[in-house]
């Protein structure tokens, strides 16, 4: 899978982050655990210290009892009994505290039992001594018998045993804690080293993969760029070839049009001219019907001449190079209207042209457009005295629509889709002359300007032609 696969790249990044973080977290947990262990050991040591202090306290209180009795017996001074009596008050609590400290240690519990027993036994002996002393008995023999000393020595020995045990335990715990710390330090070092080496190895591997993928991608991109350049060059040469072909075809079309304009019109002129000559020269010898036939011959020739002219114009509109310059449509419409008036001065037509309508486009083609649209309006209002022809603009959805409206004969909207097809006519030639090429020419001009044209009409209610021009094009 290439580096460019986003899932794989995400996985790579995730691993690069997650693996080190995970390993470090493990290390941290280990250290935390070990620190807790050390803290526990420290707590145990402190506890041990407290126990030792308690033991010494008990020992001190025992000594206070013993020395108090001994002092009193030797001097008879009751003042010596003060530490003896104070120790009696304090000893039970001190013993209880020590016992609590030693809870959970069976050997120590046994020693505590021995301690309590031993103490009780010593108290009995000392009570005996004091009683004998008060009663004037032989307390000295009892002292000499060593009964008190033996008991006190046993008590001391027990206390020493507790101290020894406690010290040994503390030493053991200390050693264990030290060993644990050392192990953790060693393991931690090993762990850090391993993790470090592993991470370095992983990173190196990933970087190498990345570099490899990058190289592969670069090579692919370069190959694609090369392919693109090659196909671009192929396209360019194809375009150049097509352009050359098109230019050739255009030139052919142009020379064809030129020939048509020259060569087809000449025989027509001859037909019309000689028919006219015949009518003039032989007027007296020809029958009226022959004269009429000659007239029809001439009309046909004239009509064919018009057809050729209109076809030529249609082809010119298609192949002419489109110019884009400011065009005053109002002035253009006015000029076309004047020509129409001059051609038929007898017509009574009201021409209403909205002022200041200007656009950008090809002035020659737009003139042909206006000639055709206004010419049509002029033609199809010919049977209506006082006809109205309008040229105006409307804005619909921000787009300027130009319109030529007349109140002439109109046409049936059922045939509207054929309106812009060459040679398609809506009326009989005998009613309104024409070749049916004008609106096809108009539509081509509008299309070449990036616009569209549509017509609305009713039979007898006039027609409106609306068109747009793509004026934003430079």
């Amino acid at each position: 899978m290439p580096l460019t696969d986003p899932r794989r790249f995400r996985r790579l990044l995730l691993r690069a982050i997650l693996v080190p973080v995970g390993l470090l977290l493990l290390l941290a947990a280990l250290l935390l655990w070990e620190v807790k262990d050390l803290l526990q050991t420290q707590e145990a040591a402190r506890h041990s210290q407290v126990t030792l202090v308690r033991v010494e306290r008990v020992r001190q209180l025992f000594i206070d009892r013993e020395t108090g009795v001994r002092g009193f017996l030797l001097t008879g001074d009751r003042a010596f009994l003060e530490p003896y009596q104070a120790a009696e008050q304090l000893l039970p609590r001190a013993l209880d505290e020590l016992e609590r400290d030693l809870e959970g240690k069976p050997t120590e519990q046994a020693r505590m039992e021995a301690l309590r027993e031993g103490w009780k036994s010593w108290e009995q002996v000392s009570m005996q001594m004091l009683t004998l002393f008060k009663e004037g008995g032989d307390w000295l023999s009892l002292v000499r018998s060593g009964a008190g000393k033996v008991r006190m020595d046993a008590l001391r020995a027990t206390l020493d045993a507790i101290v020894a045990e406690e010290r040994q335990r503390a030493t053991l715990q200390g050693a264990e804690a030290e060993r644990g710390a050392r192990t953790v330090l060693f393991l931690g070092l090993l762990w850090t080293l391993t993790v470090g080496v592993l991470l370095a190895w992983l990173s190196r591997r990933q970087l190498l993969t990345l570099a490899r993928d990058y190289d592969a991608s670069l090579a692919r991109v370069q190959a694609q760029a090369d392919a693109l350049r090659a196909s671009e060059a192929r396209l360019e040469s194809r375009v150049a070839q097509r352009t050359a072909e098109l230019t050739a075809a255009n030139q052919e079309l142009e020379s064809f049009s030129y020939s048509v304009s020259h060569d087809l019109r000449a025989p027509l002129r001859a037909i019309d001219g000689f028919a006219q000559a015949l009518r003039e020269d032989e007027a007296e010898r020809l029958s009226p019907s022959s004269l009429q036939l000659l007239e029809r011959l001439q009309a046909a020739a004239t009509r064919m001449g018009q057809l050729i002219d209109d076809l030529l114009q249609l082809s010119r509109v298609t192949r002419a190079e489109l110019r884009r310059e400011p065009v005053d449509l109002s002035a253009l419409a006015g000029s076309v209207a004047n020509e129409l008036r001059q051609r038929e001065p007898g017509r009574e037509v009201k021409l209403s042209i909205q002022s200041s309508l200007s656009t950008r486009g090809d002035p020659r083609l737009l003139r042909v457009l206006m000639e055709n649209l206004l010419g049509n309006a002029w033609k199809f209002t010919s049977k209506r005295p006082g006809a109205l022809i309008e040229f105006f603009a409307e804005t619909v959805d921000g787009v300027t629509h130009y319109a030529v409206r007349d109140d002439g004969v109109g046409f049936d909207m059922a045939y509207a889709d054929k309106l812009f097809t060459p040679f398609q006519r809506m009326h009989k030639v005998t009613d309104f002359p024409g070749t049916g090429i004008g609106l096809a020419t108009v539509q081509r001009i509008v299309h070449r300007h990036g616009g569209h044209i549509e017509a609305q009409a009713t039979v007898g209610g006039g027609a409106t032609f609306r068109f747009t021009l793509q004026e934003s094009l430079a």
């Binding site: 020259h262 002129r269 002219d309």
Partner: protein, 150 residues
């Protein structure tokens, strides 16, 4: 006015020649119509060369009606040579052709034609054109004497 100077028609189509001749007659112009049917001959006639060497010293025609599409030398080339020569540079030349191609119009005017008339298909219109041409160029218009320099 000097005796009737001719009209030179440069036209290779005999039908058009006949029709033009009839149209000028119908229009009532008395000037004789001389006809040559290609570009080379037209120049020979005007410069009194070759077959027209005998015309040396004869006055130039009052008007040249020049078709554009001609054998050997076309109308544009004929017009160029007429304008290039001091003796004919002021000669009124009317282009009389079937073409209404924009480029023909532009080229003709840039070469210094005096007028450009498209031959109409309708004979009656042609007669009207001939009448107006004769009226204007043969009666109304004035040109400097040949060979005059500014």
């Amino acid at each position: 006015m000097s005796p009737q100077r001719s009209i030179l028609l440069v036209e290779d189509n005999p039908d058009d020649v006949d029709l033009t001749r009839r149209a000028f007659q119908r229009a009532g112009h008395p000037q004789p119509l001389e006809v040559v049917d290609d570009g080379v001959e037209a120049l020979d006639y005007l410069f009194a060369r070759g077959a027209y060497a005998h015309r040396a010293g004869e006055p130039l025609p009052a008007l040249v009606l020049l078709d554009l599409k001609l054998p050997r030398l076309n109308g544009h080339e004929v017009l160029r040579q007429i304008r290039a020569s001091p003796s004919t540079r002021f000669l009124p030349v009317v282009i009389l052709t079937s073409s209404d191609e924009e480029k023909d119009l532009v080229q003709s005017y840039s070469q210094g034609c005096n007028s450009y008339v498209r031959k109409p298909v309708s004979y009656n219109e042609f007669v009207e054109a001939a009448r107006q041409l004769g009226l204007y160029w043969l009666a109304l218009n004035r040109v400097p004497q040949p060979g005059v320099h500014e």
